[in-house]
């Protein structure tokens, strides 16, 4: 009996999925993800800013990859997440590295990354490796990254939390464990940090809706990355937003729930 009662809300929710406008969703399927990435890469090539497509052996899957240098902002920021980490930082021998020492170490690193350095040269120089993957479960892109100092020492999760841009600190402090954590890279099996995708659809929906209302087509991956990238020091040049074409029908599908999935639910 109890079971019957409990089952109702789920059923009602699921049954209403197709008719309720606020339930309309903004998902990206895998094929459109690849198309978006293709267009993204064409623009990246024209800028020579270092993005590459890495394919996985014996599979059509892959990911966008880029390495860049940045600085950890932890020293200049007063509202530290963890006291312990602050103490660690002050005894960190690498902290005195300046942007000068970096100039000799930027082989293969793009100029865009060097710009970040000037803002926060009081921090530690960090080498970032960013990967953009597709998540089947959330039907959105996901940003994976790893970070190390120039002598190869990996950053800890606390280091990464502390280096999050101050604009996003509030969100991080409210729920650090469901914002950025360390996870296994689903294609490589190695340790990476990940920006959790579970809220991606939530913030992408209004962005995509606004674009549609203004009759403006946008590339999902570009729009998404320009929102999540800056959280972890990855800035997206404005030209991506103005010059990378949208994938046809990508934005329209998202607003018609019935068209989101090809087979019946």
């Amino acid at each position: 009996m109890e079971e019957e009662e409990e089952a109702v809300p789920v059923r009602t929710l699921l049954a209403n999925r197709h008719i309720s406008p606020e339930m309309s969703s903004c998902f990206l399927d895998e094929e459109k993800f690849r198309q978006c990435c293709q267009l993204f890469l064409e623009h990246s090539d024209s800028l020579s800013d270092g993005w590459r497509w890495e394919s996985v052996k014996d599979s059509h899957e892959g990911y966008l990859r880029k390495t860049a240098l940045g600085t950890s902002r932890r020293r200049s920021n007063p509202d530290q997440i963890s006291e312990r980490e602050q103490q660690q930082t002050s005894s960190d021998p690498h902290q005195e590295k300046t942007s000068l020492s970096l100039q000799n170490n930027n082989d293969g690193i793009d100029d865009g990354a060097l710009c970040c350095l000037r803002e926060g040269s009081s921090g530690v120089v960090i080498q970032y490796e960013y990967h953009i993957l597709y998540s089947n479960s959330y039907q959105t892109p996901v940003l994976y990254f790893r970070a190390s100092t120039l002598d190869g020492k990996s950053l800890s999760l606390e280091d990464v939390w502390d280096s999050v841009h101050s604009n996003y600190r509030q969100r991080l402090q409210n729920g650090p464990w469901d914002t950025i954590t360390q996870q296994e890279h689903p294609l490589l099996g190695q340790s990476f940090f990940v920006l959790h995708p579970c809220r991606t659809e939530e913030f992408m929906r209004p962005v995509m809706q606004a674009a549609l209302e203004a009759d403006r087509q946008v590339n999902y991956v570009v729009t998404w990355l320009s929102v999540v990238g800056p959280v972890v020091g990855l800035d997206v040049p404005l030209s991506y937003c103005t010059q990378v074409p949208a994938v046809p029908h990508c934005t329209f599908n998202s607003l018609h729930p019935a068209a989101v999935e090809t087979s019946p639910d």
Binding site: V10, R11, S25, S137, S154, Q183, S191, H196, C198
Partner: protein, 300 residues
């Protein structure tokens, strides 16, 4: 490992086309959940030979719960070895089996099925306190890390099953109940909440997609995870065999050739005719994923 009676019985009485089967086997099915939850692996922990100790370190023996995580249930192991070590020789603990670092974020039962099936018990794990393999293993400095990983798996599974609607409807204390149930090995506490994550509209016949991962020992890639529905577009029940045919056909042997692979979940080889929806509801780990190991068949 041998196939327990409860499971072969459940499978023999099962007929996927017979609607009454579900009702008849309800009582049995609850036993399945218990048997899965209380599965244990006898394990011996040995300190790595190069670790510096003040006196000889005896091995430590423990029954490990299949559905839990290594770093969640090995406090005693750690304490045991710390007794013979100097603090300055101790860094983050990690575990290894025959040269392979063990990923604590995989459920223990999965690690055993994947790396140690068809070997003799107890399972012999080596304990390290130095040279943490940064690339291969996630750091686990506290139980918060395990909790975050566990909850993020449950959330991902619910995104697949119900577009996240059930997990988002739950309150923070409900999430806590799932975690505390696992942490304290409380079957009833966990299932009182987890059953909500196992519901689905009757008319749909199952979840939206089945949360599963297929692990291959002989692959560079850690696992296969794609979208797969429990019911085919023309209304047929998808089975374990259907899933494997689609994701990794090599796992299924043709009739005329010797079997090359075993397909293992919770230490047993379920029949390929078993409906996937049933497996998802009963043989999923507490993280709500069906973890399927495809391992080389033993050669005699």
């Amino acid at each position: 490992m041998t196939v327990p009676n409860w499971f072969t019985n459940a499978l023999e009485t099962r007929n996927p086309l017979c609607a009454t089967w579900r009702e008849k086997s309800m009582a049995d099915d609850k036993d399945v959940l218990r048997d899965v939850w209380f599965g244990r692996i006898p394990t011996s922990f040995t300190l790595y030979q190069d670790e510096i100790t003040e006196r000889e370190a005896e091995p430590f023996y423990l029954l490990l719960p299949r559905v839990s995580y290594l770093t969640l249930v090995t406090d005693k192991v750690k304490k045991h070895f710390l007794k013979v070590m100097k603090t300055e020789d101790v860094e983050e603990i990690w575990f290894e089996y025959e040269g392979t670092p063990l990923k604590w974020h995989y459920p223990i039962g999965l690690l055993f099925d994947l790396h140690a099936s068809n070997t003799s018990l107890p399972w012999s794990i080596t304990v390290h306190f130095k040279n943490f393999p940064e690339r291969d293993l996630l750091h686990c400095p506290s139980n918060y890390v395990i909790e975050a990983h566990f909850m993020s798996s449950i959330k991902e599974a619910d995104a697949l099953k119900h577009k996240s609607q059930v997990i988002n409807d739950m309150q923070k204390k409900d999430h806590k109940q799932l975690w505390m149930g696992l942490q304290n090995d409380k079957f009833d506490q966990f299932w009182a909440m987890n059953r909500k994550l196992m519901e689905y509209p009757t008319e749909e016949g199952g979840f939206r997609y089945i949360p599963f991962r297929i692990y291959l020992t002989m692959s560079d890639r850690p696992f296969i995870q794609k979208l797969f529905r429990p019911i085919s577009p023309d209304g047929h029940t998808h089975t374990l065999g259907d899933l494997l045919k689609e994701m990794y056909p090599m796992a299924i042997a043709n009739d005329d050739e010797p079997r090359r692979y075993q397909v293992v979940i919770h230490g047993i080889e379920p029949l390929l005719e078993t409906p996937l929806q049933w497996l998802s509801e009963h043989l999923s780990h507490p993280d709500n994923f069906l973890h399927i190991s495809v391992i080389p068949a033993p050669t005699d």
